[in-house]
């Protein structure tokens, strides 16, 4: 993006404006605050001029009084352009378009989930169409069952084509299309069934009316105006998409994407959108419980008794060990460090994950490599994905990759004079031309369709490919020890492509647990850096705060000095972590056995909480404030939407109380969140940037806090009247600048504190225009989040040595490699009822020939024996998997921890 | 012993009338406003008086923490005492009076001046801006109207040649003074309304602008004393009008003199209430203007003419 943009002068309704010439007129007007009704234009998808609603009048020159009606979304902004938005003819034209769309639109608004945040409602009001003259029969359609996430009501469709443009063109989905002809067109699947694309949830926001609505919301339906919202950050993968979480009557109702120009833009994936239901789960831990003896049953305990017990178990002479978590906030982990001391703080991740994450975070801190935001990923023009199934481990990166493939053809189109917003000609011109994407993964990958070359191999060969590429780019880099010709050829091709690109991008991650892959990816990056390339490196991590945790001091809890024989533990504090997902059962059990008292803080019941002697209810991310660091190194703060009732407290508050109990004279006096955030920034220099990067709890706009609720928020005097008719004082949020109230200035709070989008006249999510400096641009006042790695100094490139670590696979043994699933592999989201319906049974992926060897067919159940664990799994035959390699779905609910890659045997049942 | 009975009788009559006025006023006002008024408690709603009294007694006797406590408590008592003391010189019948003072009128004027203290102190002690404004208005209004209240009576005094109420009544045997002293009567009547700050001259209370003026902060029986004090004032002024201008107890002899006195008093009480029912409240400056620019000259003129005629007749 060049800073020097030559501006052109245009005239709109007799007023002069300066505008950017690469934009279309509609975008320009919207960013200038001039409302033009529109349907089919979406900033992320460009214009196609299909709905005809954004009509304005264009004049040839100053003497032209008649003018002609043009579609503003198809009108490039040129020097001296004269248009009128308020022209009576243009207005009448727009009203007539709405009227004709309305002839078939049903009288559904009261039972339509879109009502109150409907773009069509807004546009109807905006154009002034208020009376239906047409009273002939309305067209109807039959609906489809589209799975657990999305409801379908085709009658409401206004044929703007936004859904298929998003689903097919933008997100690469295959199973939503447009059928039939003329005024009968139908948007749906070829048959009933769940929408398969991982981004189908965005149809809810993309659809300007109520054709696609949130099925999880309709189970506890609430209008937008009744929701109490807070800005949050998605915790279901390491990308850290920004979300708006919404509460009503104490339960979380839905999640919408929150715009962040640098991260997720307009969209989020389905795991993030529908993974919230665990928060309302009946199985949530709501009371503090204690177990008097190791095998007894946990019983609820009141605060007085609880603190009497804590007084003993946390007393000063006790030796306390703390285990942190990659899904807890920086502040909660830091509070635990303050309680137990740095030497007693352990990261609650496996030794392998700890090492790999540490390698990555240290590399990113010390080398002057760019970690791209999703926005920058979208700008890459040559991409190498080295051993990471992005669609399942970091779905939004996969979506960004799909956009990046358009950069090379779009560059070509620009030469032919087609502007970047003019979507249809761009796609026609591009045909199958794409920016080069190279994918090296063991199994079939949904990004394969956009790849120039696909390399299907074992993790070792993927690493070998990486080393070879690095060696081709820079002779000093160590070569792989493989002699495979096709691998070498491909490496040469990829190296050339990366070398020639302006913005090459390397994506890798730790999901295959292979150190060599990571070293290879880092070697390629260093090799490109030494070539002077503008390379970007994006490393996918397993959890939302994996990066943040790795920046904190401490070792893995699997480390010998914790699990070793002679370690004495009086009290073990486990913070928001199910250790049975992190290490094998025996060693975790061993750890619990030698701890005299185990204190666990968590939200959902799991195997670790069942072992707790003292179990404390911790608020979920929806009920707490915290900072998490995404894989890019961007620290982002989330806020609570739910008030914590009864004994539920935020983890940092629990641990603060522990500190008070343990040491009554302790200097730490964290009264509110700002205090702990400040101590974190003061004590750990790496986080000094976090100091005051967010408005503190004392922040006020027009002397009020920022309201979480809309000005239409209803039922204040009745919602608790069944309990007591006297209204209680509004609950206060002392930790944040947001208030549990409708009082205050609802428009344009600081960009990181936007609880919902609303502008007078714009009730739908399209109200976002008012919060951005331009459609698709940055938030006004800068995109939220602070990047921790920005100031990295020029490092010297010491290449990682190539390690020959060939797993010897015996005959009748297979190399078992993990397969991640967007739905199921994440701990918290897989407790959501809607996601649960999309989770597969545990399965193994294998080659057809391998299946023949053990004489099984697709869909059969086999027994897998791996590391002494026996599992019954379904067989899935996958194409192009190399022989001797099998993929095992991991982390699915109910599955034990298995330390793979490893060798396993199949037994036919 | 006789005095004890008379004092008890006077107190009984005065307080009964004052209390009964609560009911009378509400019923009369509603008659003139096409309503029914209190008619639920007891026969004709007469029990309302008792109910109201009980209510006042049982209300929390609250003294605002920000008030000047001793003065706050004292103020309503002053009003009651000054007005009840004046009743001592009012002749209910030829032999039915507590004390026939030869300076009865001066005693009345003196006591009514003291009544101002009650209101000013009550407003001041409340430590509330509305109360204070009410008290300030009351002091100005009552000082103003006292001036010609006294002057308006001087005609009567001249004609009766005495300050004693009994003598004045007896002097009216030949004809009630309201004919020769018509102007005096009008001026005294208006001044009487202002002295008792009844509607239309209830500017110190003026609920529309001052909440309840000087007694905003009062509740329970302290408020009740202001309340009863006002009705006592109305009764007193009515009794004095009857005494000074309408021949007091004089009347046809088929009924006892006390009855005539009470009848005339009650008539003027009704006129007071009728005034309240029909007239709006003037503005404060209009009230002062009327006092100083119209009524004072009128009273002086009346005095001049009466004096001249009396000298001429001698």
């Amino acid at each position: 993006m060049s800073l020097e943009v030559s501006m052109v002068k245009i005239t709109i309704d007799g007023k002069y404006y300066e505008a950017k010439p690469e934009k279309n007129l509609l975008e320009t007007c919207l960013s200038l605050g001039i409302d033009i009704p529109h349907f089919c234009f979406h900033p992320a998808m460009g214009s196609v001029g299909a709905c005809r609603l954004c009509a304005v009048k264009k004049f040839r020159d100053k003497d032209d009084t008649k003018g002609r009606i043009v579609m503003s979304c198809m009108e490039p902004v040129t020097e001296g352009l004269i248009v009128s938005v308020d022209d009576p003819e243009a207005k009448a034209f727009r009203a007539s378009i709405i009227e004709s769309l309305m002839t078939n639109h049903p009288h559904d608004c009261p039972v339509c989930d879109e009502g109150g945040e409907c773009h069509l409602q807004d546009m109807t009001v905006m154009t002034g169409h208020n009376y239906r003259r047409y009273d002939f029969p309305k067209r109807t359609y039959n609906n489809q069952e589209l799975g657990p996430f999305i409801s379908h009501e085709m009658n409401r469709c206004i044929q703007c084509y936004r859904c298929v443009r998003f689903y097919r063109d933008y997100a690469g989905g295959k199973d939503l299309n447009v059928f039939a002809s003329r005024n009968n067109v139908y948007f749906g699947r070829h048959e009933d069934g769940p929408l398969e694309n991982e981004f189908s949830g965005n149809l809810i926001e993309v659809c300007p009316t109520g054709v696609f609505t949130d099925k999880t919301l309709s189970k506890h339906f609430t209008r937008k105006w009744d929701l109490s919202n807070a800005p949050s950050v998605c915790v279901h993968c390491s990308v850290g998409c920004n979300t708006i979480i919404s509460e009503r009557y104490g339960s979380l109702r839905r999640i919408m994407s929150r715009y962040n120009g640098a991260v997720n833009g307009y969209f989020i994936c389905d795991r993030g959108r529908f993974g919230y239901e665990f928060i309302n789960d009946e199985k949530r831990i709501k009371t503090a419980q204690i177990r008097s003896n190791k095998d007894g049953i946990a019983e609820p305990v009141d605060n007085e008794r609880l603190f009497a017990i804590l007084d003993q178990s946390l007393s000063k002479d006790k030796n306390i060990i703390g285990i942190g978590s990659p899904r807890a906030s920086l502040e909660s982990n830091f509070a635990l460090i303050s309680l137990v001391g740095r030497e007693n703080f352990y990261h609650g991740i496996s030794k392998k994950e700890f090492l790999l994450t540490k390698t990555i975070s240290e590399f990113l801190q010390n080398k002057s490599v760019r970690t791209p935001s999703l926005k920058q990923i979208e700008k890459a023009d040559a991409i190498l994905v080295l051993g990471e199934d992005l669609t399942n481990t970091a779905p939004m990166i996969a979506l960004a990759l799909r956009q990046a493939t358009r950069n090379v053809p779009d560059e070509e189109a620009k030469k032919k004079g087609i502007p970047s917003w003019n979507d249809a000609p761009l796609r026609v011109l591009a045909q199958d031309a794409r920016s080069p994407v190279f994918i090296a993964t063991p199994f079939i990958d949904s990004l394969d369709v956009i790849a120039e070359s696909i390399f299907r191999a074992t993790p070792q060969d993927i690493a070998n490919l990486g080393y070879s590429i690095a060696q081709k780019l820079d002779d000093r880099a160590p070569d792989s020890n493989t002699e495979k010709k096709d691998l070498k050829d491909l490496a040469g091709k990829i190296a050339l492509s990366l070398k020639n690109a302006k913005n090459p991008l390397i994506i890798s991650g730790i999901s295959y647990g292979d150190e060599a892959i990571i070293h290879a990816a880092l070697n390629i990056t260093m090799a490109l850096l030494s070539n002077g390339s503008n390379v970007m490196l994006s490393m996918v991590l397993p959890e939302c705060n994996s990066m943040g945790l790795s920046l904190l001091p401490g070792k893995s809890f699997e480390d010998a000095d914790l699990l070793g024989e002679n370690k004495e533990i009086d009290t073990l504090v486990v913070l928001e972590n199910d250790l049975f997902r992190r290490a094998d059962e025996n060693s975790v059990n061993e750890l619990f056995k030698k701890s005299r008292q185990v204190i666990v803080l968590d939200h959902l019941s799991n195997r670790t909480t069942q072992k707790a002697d003292i179990l404390l209810p911790a608020a979920t991310y929806a009920g707490s404030e915290g900072t998490i660091v995404n894989n890019e190194g961007r620290a982002q703060r989330y806020y609570k939407a739910i008030e914590n009732k009864n004994q539920i407290k935020e983890s940092w508050q629990w641990i603060r109380d522990f500190i008070k109990v343990r040491d009554t004279n302790h200097i730490v006096s964290w009264n509110r969140f700002d205090d702990i955030a400040d101590s974190l920034a003061n004590e750990l220099p790496l986080f000094s940037k976090l100091k005051n990067y967010m408005p503190g709890a004392d922040f006020r706009m027009l002397n009020t806090k920022i309201p979480r609720q809309t000005i239409r928020y209803s039922g204040r005097t009745a919602m608790n009247a069944n309990i007591a008719v006297s209204e209680t004082k509004l609950s206060q949020d002392h930790d944040s600048p947001l208030a549990f109230s409708m009082e205050g200035q609802p428009e344009n709070p600081p960009s990181s504190l936007v609880p919902f989008y609303w502008v007078p006249g714009w009730n739908s999510v399209q109200a976002m225009y008012n919060y951005l400096d331009e459609p698709g641009g940055s938030m006004k006042g800068g995109d939220p989040g602070v990047r921790l790695f920005e100031s990295a100094e020029e490092g010297n490139h010491i290449y990682f040595k190539h390690k020959a670590q060939i797993t010897v696979v015996q005959k009748d043994e297979w190399l078992i490699v993990p397969v991640y699933q967007i739905f199921g592999s994440d701990e918290l989201s897989s407790a959501s009822t809607s996601i649960l319906q999309r989770i597969h049974e545990p399965f193994v992926l294998m080659n057809k020939k391998d299946a023949d060897i053990i004489t099984v067919k697709d869909g059969d159940t086999v027994q897998l024996e791996i590391l002494k664990i026996k599992l019954k799994v379904k067989v899935k035959i996958g194409k192009s998997i190399v022989q001797g390699l099998a993929g095992l779905s991991v982390n699915l609910p109910g599955m034990p921890f298995i330390d793979i890659p490893g060798r396993g045997k199949f037994h036919k049942l | 012993m006789k005095y004890v009975f008379i004092i008890a009788g006077v107190l009984l009559i005065a307080l009964t009338i004052a209390a009964g006025l609560i009911w009378v006023e509400r019923r009369l006002l509603s008659v003139w406003q096409d309503r029914l008024g209190p008619n639920r408690v007891g026969p004709f709603g007469l029990g309302q008086v008792v109910a109201d009294t009980i209510k006042l007694f049982f209300k929390e006797d609250w003294v605002p923490p920000f008030s000047d406590r001793p003065v706050f408590v004292l103020a309503p008592g002053i009003l009651m005492v000054t007005i009840l003391l004046t009743f001592a010189v009012v002749p209910f019948g030829p032999n039915f009076y507590v004390y026939d003072s030869n300076i009865g009128i001066l005693f009345f004027l003196g006591n009514s001046s003291l009544g101002v203290y009650s209101i000013v102190l009550g407003g001041w002690a409340s430590n509330n801006k509305y109360s204070l404004i009410g008290a300030m208005r009351a002091s100005a209004q009552m000082l103003t109207y006292e001036v010609f209240m006294g002057l308006s009576l001087m005609g009567v005094v001249m004609m009766a040649d005495s300050f004693s109420f009994c003598k004045i009544v007896e002097a009216q045997k030949g004809g009630w003074f309201f004919i020769p002293q018509f102007i005096g009567f009008i001026v005294f009547f208006i001044a009487g309304i202002a002295e008792t700050h009844r509607l239309p001259f209830d500017i110190p209370e003026a609920e529309g602008e001052l909440i309840a003026g000087y007694h905003s902060e009062y509740s329970g029986m302290k408020f009740g004393m202001f309340f009863v004090g006002e009705y006592l004032g109305v009764t007193l002024i009515s009794a004095l009008i009857a005494t000074l201008f309408f021949g007091g107890w004089l009347g046809p002899s088929f009924l006892p003199p006390v009855f005539w006195f009470l009848f005339k008093t009650f008539f003027f009480i009704c006129v007071f209430i009728l005034l309240r029912a029909s007239l709006p409240r003037p503005r404060y400056d209009q009230l002062m203007e009327l006092g100083w620019k119209v009524l004072l000259p009128l009273a002086l003129l009346n005095l001049l003419v009466t004096g001249a005629i009396l000298i001429f007749l001698k």
């Binding site: 009261p110 109150g116 609430t222 105006w225 039922g715 | 007239l279």
Partner: protein, 171 residues
């Protein structure tokens, strides 16, 4: 002066006027059918709840005294899971009735709802629901709406065409 006496005289003459007061508990006043009194929830002709839990009444309520939660039955028909009106806050403005798109919520000519305990002024759905149709008989929202929520199938509504056959391409 004259005008003052005149107005006193006119006031006095009211002694002979008829009193307007209605002695309420003994004599019941006439209330017009559209009198805005107690709020009820009505049912349609098939005795099913008319309320579709659209939240418009709650949004229209100036004192925010209506709260409800939508839910769906097996056939997808929307209805309120709970519907609560806090009558100790209600000002009987009738906005909820005007906002209601289904004639479910209606204000009726009944105001005798005083209580000694304020908690009893909180009415839940079972207190609000009546078995009749109230002031607007015969209206059924689901027959006019496009949705299929178990009342009528697609294209069977009052003013609807048969559902489009997607596989047909005839002009």
């Amino acid at each position: 002066m004259i005008s003052i006496l005149r107005s006193m005289w006119l006031t006095f003459l009211h002694v002979f006027h008829k009193t307007e007061t209605v002695e309420y508990p003994e004599v019941k006043p006439y209330l017009a059918p559209r009198y805005r009194g107690r709020i009820v929830l009505t049912r349609d002709a098939e005795k099913k709840e008319r309320c579709v839990a659209c939240y418009l009444c709650a949004a229209a309520c100036p004192v925010d005294c209506i709260s409800l939660q939508a839910t769906e039955d097996k056939e997808g028909r929307r209805y309120p899971e709970f519907f609560r009106i806090n009558f100790s806050r209600c000002i009987f403005c009738g906005f909820c009735e005007e906002a209601c798109p289904t004639y479910a919520i209606q204000l009726i000519p009944d105001f005798e709802m005083a209580e000694y305990d304020r908690q009893n002024m909180v009415y839940e759905k079972e207190h609000l629901l009546i078995s009749g149709e109230g002031k607007y008989p015969g209206y059924d929202f689901y027959k006019n709406a496009g949705v299929d929520m178990g009342v009528k199938g697609k294209g069977e509504g009052d003013n609807e065409e048969k559902p489009v056959d997607v596989k047909e391409l005839l002009p």
